[in-house]
């Protein structure tokens, strides 16, 4: 355990707005209640506590959403967000219009993997619904938020399999192929565990010949056996502890695996060499008060070493979850970075 709670609270409160602090602290405490020492997870309580929103085919701030069953056999759902069709009335978008391209010009398709350390949240969790809507507004994208199977009920590689299934699905949907060349301009995006999933799905894409226009990793979740300096220094200080990170890895990785498993540590001793693969370019966003930043920075380095294009955005005073509330410069500036990355890689 790191430091006294009082000291931590004061430090932490000074770097985020109060309502952000309340939001993230609430998550932290609620999540503490859900993880059991034996590695099981109180899924029912988790779903009860989770704040969710429905999809909405009626435009809100110019965005509509609807849920879709990508794969009936294993109930793989996704929520799709898209710009509202230009026709202002009727208020409800007829179903057929939902499946038309948002524009005759090239448009991005962002496949989004929500965070939650592989165990928490869903596409219809309010914080992620909000974020996906934001992405649409930023870039005119069609966003596909994937309801991937979560741990500990479903371990590696289920989340990756589901992400891959979503990418393959997108590659077969005609309305997602935009522009005169009818091309799928797909970006893989995720925060926390979602960022990790985006990476691994991108590897599969590179191995399989599906072209990905770019990866966007927001505070991606990586780790390793070694305790890095940032982990030791920031343990327990800004909402996150080494112990909870360990718990989530243990719940996701195969039984008996350690954190140098390539899922957790892609550039570690068991990692896959990306040099020969046409792995896409990446935008990696790191919060300076996130205790796993050393792993995230190492990830960016790993990409560079393998000759892959990577832009690193380091927000020194940002904590985890800074992108959940539109109330800081971190939020707006990072959104701008994402927008630029997407539009310049169309």
């Amino acid at each position: 355990m790191a430091g006294s709670n009082e000291v931590n609270a004061n430090e932490c409160r000074m770097v985020v707005p109060l309502n952000t602090w309340v939001l993230i602290s609430n998550f932290k405490l609620a999540y503490n209640m859900l993880r059991r020492p034996d590695g099981t997870f109180d899924r029912h309580l988790a779903e009860f506590l989770d704040r969710k929103v429905p999809a909405n085919a009626a435009p809100v701030n110019g965005v509509v959403s609807f849920d879709i069953l990508i794969d009936r056999t294993n109930n793989l759902l996704a929520r799709i967000y898209r710009p509202a069709p230009p026709n202002p009335s009727p208020a409800t978008t007829p179903l057929a219009d939902l499946h038309r391209p948002p524009s005759p010009d090239p448009f991005p398709v962002i496949i989004f993997f929500h965070g939650g350390s592989f165990a928490h949240s869903s596409p219809n969790t309010a914080i992620y619904d909000s974020l996906c809507r934001r992405f649409v507004s930023l870039s005119g994208a069609v966003v596909i938020s994937v309801d991937y199977r979560r741990s500990p009920e479903y371990r590696y590689p289920c989340a990756y399999d589901d992400g891959w299934a979503a990418l393959k699905w997108a590659s077969t949907e005609p309305w997602l192929h935009g522009g005169k060349d009818a091309k799928l301009r797909v970006f893989l995006c995720g925060d926390s565990s979602g960022g990790n999933i985006a990476h691994h799905v991108a590897v599969r894409a590179a191995e399989s010949g599906i072209e990905v226009s770019g990866n966007i990793l927001l505070n991606p979740m990586f780790g390793g056996n070694h305790r890095t300096e940032s982990e030791k220094r920031l343990d327990g200080k800004y909402f996150v502890t080494i112990q909870d990170r360990d718990w989530y890895w243990k719940a996701y990785l195969p039984e008996g695996a350690d954190r140098d498993h390539p899922a957790c540590n892609p550039f570690g001793p068991n990692g896959v060499n990306l040099e020969e693969l046409p792995f896409t370019k990446s935008l990696v966003i790191v919060a300076g008060l996130d205790l796993v930043q050393d792993w995230q920075l190492a990830y960016a380095d790993g990409l560079k070493t393998a000759g892959k294009d990577v832009k690193l955005v380091y927000r020194e005073q940002a904590t985890i979850g800074f992108y959940l509330l539109p109330n800081t410069d971190h939020f707006y500036e990072v959104m701008e970075e994402i927008k630029n990355f997407v539009t310049s890689n169309l």
Binding site: E47, V53, N61, R149
Partner: protein, 641 residues
């Protein structure tokens, strides 16, 4: 090291406790026009940014809530430390706490703090397994019959269908079948949706207890319109696309076009489209074909304005047939089981430690809800109360006394499990025909049951009955006044979660199309592992269930005025109606949620069913679409004299 100095904008949740001298540069910090940076106002509303994410925290309470979070963390840490070294993991006991309304952070935190700071009370034993009760049904002792008030005829009646399998014991762990998957769908009247049509801003409030006002406000952010008012949200239209086939989409399109033609009274076009729909539907498969068929038939009926109440119609409208189809609907999918289960949970809780209880059921039908309640009452740690059940049902066309029959069966069950039970049936064409004194009035044989004049605790239960009253002006209000007059401890309401009663015909049609598409799709996926029926019987149940729903579709689409009784409304709408009538919500908690989820895993089979909590109510839906909602109500303090 530059310290970024942030502040929330528009009506946001307050600045910092500690004002830090920050780097004030950055043109982006331009203060936008917006809320007045005026005086603090204790009366201001919720923090809009958090509200958008599902948390209701008043801006004036933000600091308070923050403090509670800190206290809770300390309490949790010391509780955990007592049990283990790992402060990030809480021992089981804290998670056995029953949680209510997690959106209301302040209240939730208070309840958590009192749970952790007080020594935990001994947990009530979980309701034990009801032994297979159906074995007990074979004796009926007339002389000691605590049965109906009429002189009993001696009959042997077949045991009632299983609710014995439907016990209240939480199933041990492995039932988390849908574990890692999503739980979706909820209240279409979510407060978070802001319609661009509703741009009027709430009175904004300045951030509270903020010592960082003034100069630091230069970095105000987030005062853009997305932080905008959470007032008056328009209803969401939750669409779940299960069929992305080209033909499926064209079929839906054709149906909508047809409805639009009907609305514009272009009957010729509508007629042509109905025919086109039939052709398209024939090439479809599965649920969509059936749904399209029912909707097309309903539109045709509307177009040709078939005279209502023909001979055939009358026969088809018999309550007996309706009950039959209803029974199959009960067997084929989990919606009614969920309704009964969640309502019974609320009733049980409301009746705890009461010795005399009275349940008034607004729609008795086959009495499928009550065996489970009887069993649960029988197994109460404090022993069963004496239970009075009043069942209301429509007049039967064939003069049979279905209402009494049900009462008999339940009396037998009650006898066999040792619950003192009395039953009374009331025949009424409409609930609005009833008077409270009728319901409260007792019959003769009271004598030895007088527990020193202990008052009777009353529960009023309505499963998919209230919406019918909306077909006649004033009927609902009358009934709700009557409910108030019986002074219930709890009122349980289950309704279809849809708005099939508002807007234009086209709106209603669209809503219904989405709703019944999900319904029919879920019927395909239904048929749990624990279903007793074989494959063929399941198919029969499903076919009848589809007919049951088909009649609803016909009513929603083809009928108007007093005939249109399937006037479903959403949870949000019912909340408004109940509040106006003098009721306040009684929240269903995490224990009910958990048990409903576990039960679902057993009985629903298909992985697509989802239980959701929304503002203290529970909904059951298919994938992300909630289809049925249970809410519980108390007489509000204001309404009580």
């Amino acid at each position: 090291m530059k310290r970024e100095h942030q502040e929330t904008g528009a009506g946001g949740g307050g600045g910092y406790h500690v004002a830090t001298a920050g780097d004030m540069t950055g043109a982006k910090g331009k203060m936008t026009a917006g809320p007045s940076m005026g005086t603090e106002d204790d009366d201001c509303g919720v923090d809009e940014l958090l509200a958008a994410l599902g948390y209701k925290v008043r801006s004036s309470e933000m600091a308070d809530v923050a403090q509670k979070l800190e206290q809770l963390e300390v309490a949790m840490a010391s509780t955990a430390a007592a049990a283990s070294d790992d402060a990030s993991v809480l021992p089981q006991i804290a998670s056995d706490t029953v949680h209510y309304d997690p959106s209301d952070l302040a209240t939730w935190l208070d309840s958590m703090l009192s749970e952790l700071n007080a020594p935990p009370p001994p947990l009530p034993p979980p309701p034990p397994v009801a032994a297979s009760v159906h074995h007990h049904h074979h004796r009926f002792d007339v002389s000691t019959a605590s049965a109906v008030s009429e002189p009993p005829a001696i009959t042997t009646v077949a045991p009632l269908r299983p609710s014995d399998a439907y016990d209240f014991k939480p199933v041990p762990a492995p039932a988390i079948a849908s574990g890692g998957r999503v739980v979706y769908g909820l209240d279409p009247q979510s407060e978070m949706i802001v319609s661009p049509r509703d741009q009027k801003r709430k009175r904004t409030c300045s951030p509270s207890s903020s010592s960082s006002r003034g100069a630091e406000a230069g970095r105000a952010r987030g005062s853009r319109t997305e932080g905008a008012s959470s007032a008056k949200p328009a209803a969401a239209v939750p669409v779940v696309v299960v069929d992305t086939q080209e033909t499926g989409i064209r079929l839906v399109h054709a149906l909508m076009a047809c409805a639009e033609a009907v609305q514009q009274e272009n009957l010729k076009a509508a007629d042509a489209l109905v025919k086109h729909i039939s052709v398209l539907a024939a090439s479809q498969d599965g649920p969509m074909r059936k749904v399209a068929g029912y909707f097309a038939a309903a539109i045709a009926r509307r177009i040709y304005r078939r005279r209502p109440l023909s001979q055939v119609d009358r026969a088809l409208d018999s309550p007996a047939l309706d009950d039959l189809l209803h029974g199959h609907f009960y067997e084929s999918c989990p919606y009614l089981k969920f309704a009964h289960f969640t309502a019974n949970q609320a009733i049980l809780e409301a009746f705890s430690s009461c010795r005399r209880v009275h349940v008034i059921d607004f729609g008795m039908r086959q009495g499928l809800q009550w065996p489970a309640l009887l069993q649960a009452l029988a197994l109460r740690p404090e022993g069963p109360p004496s239970l009075r059940l009043t069942g209301i049902g429509p007049p039967q066309s064939d003069h049979s006394d279905a209402l009494q029959q049900v009462g008999w069966k339940l009396a037998m069950l009650a006898k066999s499990i040792g619950v003192d039970f009395r039953y009374r049936g009331f025949v009424a064409s409409s609930l609005a025909d009833l008077e409270s004194r009728m319901l409260l009035e007792r019959d003769g044989n009271e004598g030895d049951r007088d527990d020193e004049g202990e008052e009777e605790a009353v529960a009023v239960n309505s499963v998919m009955e209230l919406h019918r009253l909306l077909a006649r002006t004033g009927a609902l209000e009358k009934v709700l006044r009557m409910v108030l007059a019986v002074r219930p401890r709890i009122v349980t309401v289950v309704e279809e979660e849809a708005n099939h009663n508002g807007g234009t015909f086209l709106d209603r049609f669209t809503e219904a199309l989405h709703y019944y598409s999900s319904m029919f799709d879920s019927l395909e996926g239904s048929g749990g592992q624990a279903a007793e029926a074989g494959e063929e019987e399941q198919q029969q149940h499903r076919a009848m269930a589809e007919a049951y729903l088909g009649r609803q579709i016909c009513n929603v689409v083809a009928c108007e005025g007093a005939e249109r009784t399937e006037r479903h409304e959403t949870l949000g709408q019912w909340r408004g109606r109940m509040a106006r009538a003098g009721f306040e919500p009684a929240h269903l908690g995490s224990n009910a949620f958990k048990q409903a989820s576990m039960l679902l895993a057993l009985y629903a089979g298909g992985d697509g069913f989802r239980v959701e909590e929304t503002d203290g109510c529970l909904t059951l839906g298919w994938h992300t679409r909630p289809l049925i909602a249970t809410s519980a109500w108390r007489v509000s303090a204001a309404a009580t004299r």
